[in-house]
């Protein structure tokens, strides 16, 4: 099967911060979509987070975006900017897709 090269971004952010990121992604016409997955814990520079029962204040999510290399770089910079002092990490990696028009 012939495949096309794209980039894959993974953004781990606090659930309460996700709408700001998604709003950015939805406003960027070159990005055709995203997928959001729930996390059940994490550790980083701001300490360990585990499920907290009644409060969802510390919940995080992982947002997956597949797009072209150029857009991926631009988006990575923009998202890191949006994160400011907020908690979060952004990862980029290579990915191949079969339907190039889709991404």
């Amino acid at each position: 099967m012939h495949t096309y090269k794209r980039k894959r971004l993974e953004i781990v952010v606090e659930k309460r911060r996700a709408p700001a990121i998604l709003e950015y992604l939805d406003g960027e016409p070159a990005i055709t979509g995203w997928t959001m997955l729930p996390c059940i814990g994490g550790r980083g520079h701001t300490g360990t987070r585990l499920p907290e029962g009644a409060t969802d204040a510390l919940d995080t999510v992982l947002i997956l975006v597949v797009t072209t290399e150029e857009v991926a770089h631009r988006t990575m910079a923009a998202v890191l900017d949006l994160l400011e002092e907020f908690v979060g990490v952004v990862l980029m990696s290579d990915v191949e897709v079969a339907r190039p028009a889709h991404f």
Partner: protein
């Protein structure tokens, strides 16, 4: 003593202790998060609704306005001694101290619920509008905590962030739910109660038990973090509720609240938020360490209040109730 035993041997407190023990022995006992969150919604809705119905039934609103003002003032001011104590007792940075102070100025709804449940089981009456006090005390502390954390810092919040924060404060889920259910109770009154009583009243203690079981498990998980926390912080966690409760007691006596009402105001002032404020802090002070404030509020102050504080506040309220009138009478002679 008797009061303390009665509290300790009530099903809700025993369920909390069961969760605590299960957590300490690292049992795999678990209440799924989704259910714990739904139980929180249920508890908040129930106390709001019942408060509203009560207000509709015995509409003596005379004492309400001064009480709400005093309560808001307590929430606004209590972060100050909390902040000072934190800086004195423990080596906590400005931002974390501000965040923690906000938690302690605000209130813990579950602690309040446990206190009302205890009062009811003892047959001690309290003002129906106390629920409005809970709503009023939830958020002012966030402002003070934020100011304390940011004092002397370069930039203020930019306007976008300021707007986000204002929104977080006023549209906070537990505030909206509490006020909304209060209004629904007030509007539907006795007829509404007749229809909802099986859920909001009959089921209350049982569901509170399950919620507190989960709280016990969470508190035990927090214990692990204490080693790294230092004695100063732990001390703060038991001292601050006493400071807050004293302020609440004084205010309650001063306002001429009933014994139950005074004990509840003390409980509120002495409790620390772990639903509304942690959420707001993620936007207001994202750099603050959430583990620290949650470990204190949930790991130390909550169990302290639940097991020792509540009966203490009730006993003191019973002891001193009426003193104010006596004193006023004395002054007037």
């Amino acid at each position: 003593m008797d009061v303390a035993a009665a509290n300790l041997l009530s099903p809700p407190v025993l369920c909390f202790l069961l969760g605590l023990v299960a957590g300490i022995v690292r049992s795999d006992l678990e209440i799924p998060e989704a259910v714990a969150r739904a139980l929180a919604v249920y508890l908040i809705f129930s106390i709001g609704f019942k408060g509203g119905v009560e207000l509709a039934n015995n509409g003596d609103l005379g004492a309400l306005v001064p009480l709400l003002l005093v309560a808001a003032a307590l929430s606004l001011l209590l972060p100050v001694p909390a902040f000072v104590l934190l800086r004195l007792l423990a080596n906590v940075n400005r931002i974390d101290a501000g965040a923690i102070a906000a938690h302690y100025g605000s209130v813990s709804i579950v602690t309040y619920v446990a206190a009302t449940s205890f009062l009811q089981s003892r047959g001690i009456a309290y003002e129906g509008f106390m629920t409005a006090v809970v709503a009023v005390m939830e958020t002012p502390a966030i402002l003070t905590g934020l100011l304390l954390a940011r004092a002397g810092q370069r930039g203020a919040l930019d306007s976008r962030r300021r707007w986000e924060l204002a929104h977080e404060i006023f549209a906070n889920g537990s505030v909206v739910l509490l006020l909304g259910s209060f209004a629904i109770g007030f509007v539907t009154g006795a007829e509404g109660m007749r229809r909802l009583a099986p859920v909001v009243t009959n089921g209350f203690t049982g569901l509170l038990c399950f919620f507190l079981l989960d709280m016990g498990l969470l508190v035990a998980r927090r214990f692990a973090g204490f080693r790294t926390m230092g004695a100063g912080l732990v001390l703060f966690g038991v001292l601050m509720p006493l400071v807050g409760a004293s302020a609440g007691l004084t205010a309650g006596l001063f306002l001429g609240l009933s014994v139950g009402g005074t004990a509840l105001l003390a409980t509120l002032a002495g409790s620390a938020s772990y639903i509304a404020v942690p959420a707001a802090m993620r936007l207001a002070l994202p750099r603050a360490n959430p583990s620290l404030s949650l470990s204190l509020a949930l790991g130390i102050t909550f169990p302290f209040n639940l097991v020792l504080g509540i009966p203490l506040y009730v006993a003191v309220a019973e002891r001193f109730s009426g003193w104010w009138e006596v004193w006023r009478a004395y002054l007037q002679t």
